[in-house]
């Protein structure tokens, strides 16, 4: 599978590492100069970078296409929000149960899919079907508001980091920590025994099995890791936006937004989802801004743009922007460099 054998950290030169560290530092100090709006845009960017990274564990590392990742976001969001609203349990504790529930859902899908040999488009549809079942199901669970939405109590000016209540700045740094944490975790996993098994399963499942890789276990762990990470993104979302609607949280459109950063940045690469989010979200925001400045009201334009981005990328840069960019930059800076 050409296009998947991406450029990870391993291919990044010292120069690349410096660039990464500088980017991270830049993001760490960004709120000092950025205004409120910019911080909120950056928080959205980081959120998509994070969930994109989480999705990448399944598709990018293990070759399992999930088109229903909104399920894990939604489960994480609803479980942590319900624990907080109904039992007063804060998100730092609640996220453990949130992750467990998402992992359980992922394991059910994975078990059904892998045990019964559901492959390719059928597996993708299985993931969509479960997300849709959750969407319709949560519409009818009145304990968490049903289709009318579930709201977290908001106190103006509250600062209670222990319950993830506070200023936008708090959320910005939590999102940044999530992205860096997921990046490091992905890097560690990818260079572990498990990571090599994932890659083998992705490229040549039969050969991997013949050389002793337990396909079922490797795939199940990929689903579990991805579901758990994505659920954390859901916890963040619940406490950041303070409202949850099944129609939005579990929607097919949300699942597509989650897969976008990795596809645009580069499926199977470590930096790809982050780069993809940094390309897409600001462009989407800019588009919205321009349209509003022009006095027009066009709902759907941002999503239309995302659709165009998807088509353009998959036609012209199927391996994503990051592998291409990384190659280009190194070529420009150091032409005679070996591998």
């Amino acid at each position: 599978m050409i296009g998947l054998s991406g450029v990870g950290f391993s291919g990044v030169t010292g120069r690349g590492m410096v660039l990464l560290v500088l980017t991270a530092l830049g993001l760490a100090v960004a709120p000092l100069v950025a205004d409120r709006y910019l911080v909120s845009v950056l928080t959205t960017v980081l959120w998509f970078a994070y969930v994109g990274q989480a999705w990448n564990v399944m598709m990018g590392f293990s070759g399992l296409l999930s088109l229903g990742h909104a399920l894990y976001v939604g489960l994480g969001a609803y479980v942590s929000a319900a624990l907080f609203v109904h039992f007063g349990i804060g998100p730092w504790a609640g996220m453990i149960l949130a992750m467990l529930v998402a992992v359980a859902a992922g394991c059910i899908i994975g078990f059904l899919g892998f045990r019964f040999g559901v492959k390719g488009v059928h597996f993708a549809l299985l993931t969509i079907a479960f997300a849709e079942v959750a969407r319709i199901g949560f519409d009818h669970i009145t304990w968490v508001g049903g289709s009318g939405g579930f709201f977290l109590p908001v106190e103006a000016g509250a600062s209670d980091p222990l319950n993830l209540r506070g200023s936008p700045l708090l959320f910005y740094y939590v999102a940044l920590a999530l992205v860096l944490g997921a990046l490091v975790l992905s890097r560690v996993l990818l260079h572990s025994r498990l990571g090599y098994q994932w890659l083998a399963v992705r490229e040549e499942p039969d050969a991997a099995e013949a050389s002793g890789v337990d396909l079922f276990r490797a795939r199940m762990t990929a689903v579990a890791v991805s579901a758990a990470l994505t659920a954390l993104g859901g916890v963040f979302q619940a406490f950041y936006f303070n409202n949850l609607f099944p129609e939005q949280v579990f929607s097919m459109g949300r699942s597509i937004e989650i897969i976008l950063p990795a596809i645009v940045g580069g499926i199977g690469t470590l930096v790809g989802p982050i780069l993809g989010a940094f390309i897409l979200t600001p462009l989407g925001e800019l588009l919205t801004f321009l349209i509003e400045a022009g006095g027009l009201d066009l709902p759907g334009l941002k999503q239309l743009f995302y659709g165009v981005a998807l088509v353009v990328i998959v036609v012209f840069r199927p391996e994503g922007v990051w592998p291409w960019l990384a190659r280009r930059l190194r070529l420009v800076r150091q032409p005679g460099e070996g591998a």
Partner: protein, 289 residues
């Protein structure tokens, strides 16, 4: 009395299911031949719905008469789409195809949202509220016409694949692309033709659907998934299977909507899908690969 009631609901579900089945037939044709899964199928169907709504609004055209117009328009778009974009992806990894078509679906649904707005739109027909008495059943005239039209179109499609030279060539392509190429068939042309036919069929299904449901952009992803469910339940690549699956899903939705709450009816379809995927992944009429 209660038996008549259930009979009535089952018959209504069957008629709606025929239109569902027609839509799924389009998906099945494209998958069976081009081997590409059309993730933009529901979007094409809703395009057919809006076409019928517009034609009805401008010239008071009955959706049954708009259907051939939408068939022609969607045939052309499907043909161009295959020629221009999808054909390059036939040999690419599966997930690339999905992503391409998801992108196209996203563009289509949001373009329709921008053009027509989120509100429901319908077509006025003089027989909207007429009912027809058949034995103990009382059926809506609109439903009867939509179902009958779906049968006619499906029959025409079956006849085309069974008897016409082009239809046979397309089937040869589906059975063995390499062999078809060897005997001198122009695969690229036949693929474009097939994608066009699939799009035309779903366009007709969309036009017919306006007799039963108001057009909304939000319907598009639902119809994509519904068509998938039907095709998988009936058997991927099996044309009679798609029709049978449509009827089954239509009837079970109608009964579930009556026995439970209407908003839970699609949950039932997903349940059916999950069970079929696990127990008989090749579908009811599909062959084991």
């Amino acid at each position: 009395m209660p038996i008549d009631y259930y009979l009535n609901i089952a018959a209504s579900g069957l008629l709606t299911g025929l239109v569902y089945g027609l839509a799924a037939l389009g998906l099945s044709v494209i998958f069976g031949v081009v081997r590409v899964v059309n993730f933009a199928h529901g979007e094409m169907m809703v395009a057919g719905m809006y076409g019928a709504v517009l034609l009805g609004g401008w010239w008071g055209l009955d959706p049954l008469l708009s259907a051939p117009v939408m068939a022609a328009l969607l045939f052309a778009s499907g043909w161009l789409l295959q020629r221009g974009l999808v054909n390059k992806f036939v040999e690419r990894p599966e997930h690339m195809q999905f992503i391409l078509l998801l992108g196209i679906a996203t563009i289509l649904v949001n373009a329709m949202l921008m053009l027509f707005g989120p509100d429901a739109r319908n077509v006025q027909v003089p027989y909207s509220f007429d009912t027809v008495e058949i034995g103990p059943m009382l059926l809506d005239a609109v439903r009867l016409r939509a179902g009958a039209a779906a049968i006619v179109v499906a029959a025409a499609l079956f006849a085309f694949f069974r008897f016409s030279r082009t239809g046979k060539a397309i089937r040869a392509c589906a059975d063995n692309p390499l062999g078809a190429r060897v005997v001198g068939l122009n695969i690229d042309r036949l693929y474009a033709l097939t994608f066009g036919i699939g799009a035309a069929v779903v366009g007709v299904a969309g036009a017919l659907m306006t007799l039963l449901v108001d057009a909304r952009p939000q319907l598009a992803p639902e119809y994509t998934l519904l068509s998938f469910i039907i095709v998988i339940v009936g058997g991927l690549g099996s044309l009679p299977g798609a029709l049978l699956g449509g009827v089954l899903i239509g009837m079970s939705e109608a009964l579930a909507g009556f026995l439970l709450t209407p908003s839970l009816k699609s949950l039932f379809s997903y349940g059916v899908l999950i069970v079929v995927l696990l127990l008989r992944p090749q579908g009811l009429l599909g062959k084991r690969s």
